[in-house]
Symmetry: C2
Subunit: 478 residues, 2 copies
């Protein structure tokens, strides 16, 4: 054995004679100052927790239920299944009453609603035949004639404005493992569509065709072929360059292939069937409205576990961004919706974009979408950023999530599972916000889609949720 004292002395001598090597973390100023003095610096990614959260963080991290509760939430989220079992009108599926409209995101009043949300509600009133003109619809809506309610409050999800009215057809998805059901509307395609706040005749006519022809044909198809495994399609699409939020090309084709035998042999005219197949085949986002309720089922399974700091909802109504957390139940934690940065269609530019809107951030909440961008590098041509950014976005999300999804794998990361189950404590501790990619609606009612881009939640949702998690701890824990 060597002499420890001599060895320590040699170390100390080295401290004086060798060049210093300094590791820094937190404020970049330190590293810059050292570099200016020609000192080798190794920077780590550590950042201080979000301002003023130290006490809440210490209390919640010390909650003895937390580790097991989060492990259970992650286990339930990743073990959930999602099968398309039926296609049903909203009045039957959800008991949606005439004059009640569902919308995306946290609760909202007409006065605070953004342009695309107001536009979609106007369109839905026209589509239901409750008004003859947009002006009349708007007056009714402003007068308080109708009820509004978040989709999430009925276990449904809607992309963008997410407006659902009683006559619309919904996909019905079932998680047999946990006994949950969720719903989403049918996708209308791109451009001038209700969910982006457009409500001209083209939009309303398409909704009528979907109600009269497409919905009943899809119902027949699904009922004749039996449940369609949506979870399996998500797993496959991640091997095929989709991330399940803004790239759904492979998913849409696989869904179409599943539905085809049922559609072809449905009771209907061959031209109606050909129209339905053509409409569905032409829509690269056809699958989004199945992926979203599948993700809703995953997060629903993880919801309501006392002590769990896992996020189970992220949703935006175009004005507010809201999150809900497993351990705090149905309480929303709200902040102002941010405006995405990205790529614009045609002549539109940043000044035309509405703040973030839609329930589609349920995809990121369940570990796909922005969290799986490494699986879909081609998405950068649609939402902006570059290929290294897409890879880094997924890798960064491992910092704030509880687990890696066993079925949703990213080939280029050597089949690593997607980062799944956002942990409020990790977001607050690291300051890393969930990466969402999203469509962008025009800010003016009636415009439609103007682009697609990248966005994060407002940071304040997470300290608010953390404080509520702390309040929900009843000391001493038995």
């Amino acid at each position: 054995m060597s002499d420890p004292l001599r060895s320590a002395a040699a170390d100390l001598h080295g401290l004086l004679t060798n060049d210093p090597v300094v590791a820094t973390s937190g404020v970049g100023l330190f590293a810059d100052a050292l570099r200016d003095q020609a000192v080798a610096v190794t920077e780590t990614d550590w950042q201080p927790p979000m301002d003023g959260t130290e006490d809440d963080l210490a209390a919640v991290l010390a909650d003895r239920r937390r580790v097991a509760a989060n492990a259970l939430a992650a286990q339930r989220m990743t073990a959930s299944t999602a099968a398309l079992v039926d296609v049903v009108q909203a009045r039957d599926a959800l008991g949606l009453e005439a004059g009640t409209f569902l919308h995306a995101g946290p609760p909202l009043e007409w006065e605070r609603a953004s342009g695309p949300m107001q536009g979609a509600l106007i369109g839905a009133v026209l589509f239901e035949g409750l008004a003859d003109t947009a002006g009349e619809a708007e007056r009714q809506l402003a007068s308080g004639a109708y009820e509004f309610e978040p989709c999430h409050h009925r276990d449904a999800v809607g992309p963008m404005a997410g407006v659902v009215s009683p006559s619309m057809w919904l996909y019905e998805l079932r998680d047999e493992v946990h006994g949950n059901t969720s719903w989403s509307s049918l996708n209308e395609g791109l451009g001038k569509v209700l969910r982006y706040g457009a409500y001209n005749d083209e939009v309303i006519d398409r909704l009528h065709w979907m109600t009269r022809i497409l919905g009943p044909l899809l119902q027949q198809a699904v009922r004749s072929i039996g449940p369609v495994d949506i979870t399996a399609i998500i797993a496959q699409m991640l091997q095929m360059g989709d991330e399940g939020h803004n790239r759904n090309r492979a998913g849409s084709l696989m869904l179409l292939r599943e539905l085809l035998p049922g559609l072809i042999q449905a009771d209907g005219s061959s031209s109606d069937i050909a129209d339905a197949v053509r409409f569905s085949g032409a829509n690269e986002h056809f699958f989004l409205n199945l992926g979203m309720p599948a993700c809703k089922l995953a997060t629903l399974a993880a919801h309501g576990i006392p002590g769990s700091s896992i996020v189970t909802t992220m949703a935006r109504n175009g004005t507010d961004f809201g999150i809900r957390v497993s351990g705090t139940g149905d309480q929303w934690f709200i902040g102002p919706a941010q405006t995405p940065q990205g790529l614009f269609l045609g002549d539109y530019g940043p000044e035309d974009a509405n703040p973030d809107i839609g329930d589609s951030a349920i995809t990121e909440t369940a570990g796909i979408g922005g969290f799986a961008m490494a699986a879909a590098p081609a998405i950068v041509k649609f939402v902006g950023g570059d290929v290294p950014f897409a890879l880094e976005a997924t890798q960064l999300m491992y910092e704030i999530t509880e687990t890696e999804h066993p079925m949703f794998q990213v080939p280029i990361l050597e089949f690593r599972g997607t980062p799944t189950g956002i942990d409020v404590t990790k977001v607050v501790r690291t300051g890393i916000l969930p990466q969402i990619n999203t469509g962008m609606a025009g800010a003016v009612a009636g415009t439609g889609q103007v682009g697609a881009g990248l966005v994060t939640p407002p940071a304040e949702c997470f300290p608010a949720a953390l404080a509520a998690l702390r309040r929900a701890i009843s000391w001493p824990i038995s």
Copy 2:
């Protein structure tokens, strides 16, 4: 200005006082020996040219036509288009006479044919009704009763055994830019199929159903919807995790989507149509038989340019691997087909595999397939290797190719075009062989598919082609 003499002296002084930094290339022994002496070594990838090729290489590289000829070949290869314009029986499309059978790869006699090739020929004789039993078919074939000819000699391509008989239906593809046409048979699906050398009743019954029902329905569909842009599907599938040789999932779904409106409204029973849609939708390699003739059109456009050292055919008949080169016309350069290494189905193992077989290496010849594996990392679960290998395989192929395909892009390589146009001089100079991925047929006639794997051409094809390129130079070039 500094004093150059003083500067040179300082450099020389540095040579004596600084640690040596040595760059090595070629034989790894040098680098190892230096490393053993604690000398920092930078190894480069340089390898000496293939043995005994120095004179031919010098002569061909000095051919003044070469640079322009290869640029023209690359330009024509990447500017070619491929549209599916018709579905026609082989006797009509190719004037294929009764008793003549096309096969994959370079020319071959019955006696030298491998198990899967003999099995496929036996099956084709049975399918055409020329014999009642496999034994009878085999005796006829061995007696010289029939004519054999490579698919390539009629501008057709066939996967695996590639056997085409007069009653089989072929896809007809057209390159309008260069005025070329190519053909390929319809894909039978996986497992026990003729192209893998199986010929039991299940195989022959399926071929009869394809001839009686599928072919005519596909013909109606293609004729009613008009040309289908196959090049555009290839460009898209590379963004969707396919490489176009052993992963055709997205391509097959996109092809199905294109054909659907025509299929649904075809004149036929709804159950036949549903069967045709189900059969096509269930087949993940449905698109391969369209991608291959599209690649044939690309290489055909680049063929026959005097002085060009670009490879325009790579094809295997299960016994021999043959290449043809633009500047040497229709001459084949042959070597023994290698046995692929990869993954096996069920209980099959390496001892069950036949040597490399099929015209499908036309995909690599045109810059996709093994050359585009970086676009399809999930393929390693099917052909073996790992994700870094898939990335490296594509990157290595840039060393031996003339250009990067402007339409076929690899998202993960930041949309770099696939390496396209194998240059014989680069293969010989670097010793890097084209990377092919492939299905593996059972060596025993009648077995069917046993796995999928990775393989290269036998090296000797390339020096032989180089020597012929040299002989084709007529000095002095005017």
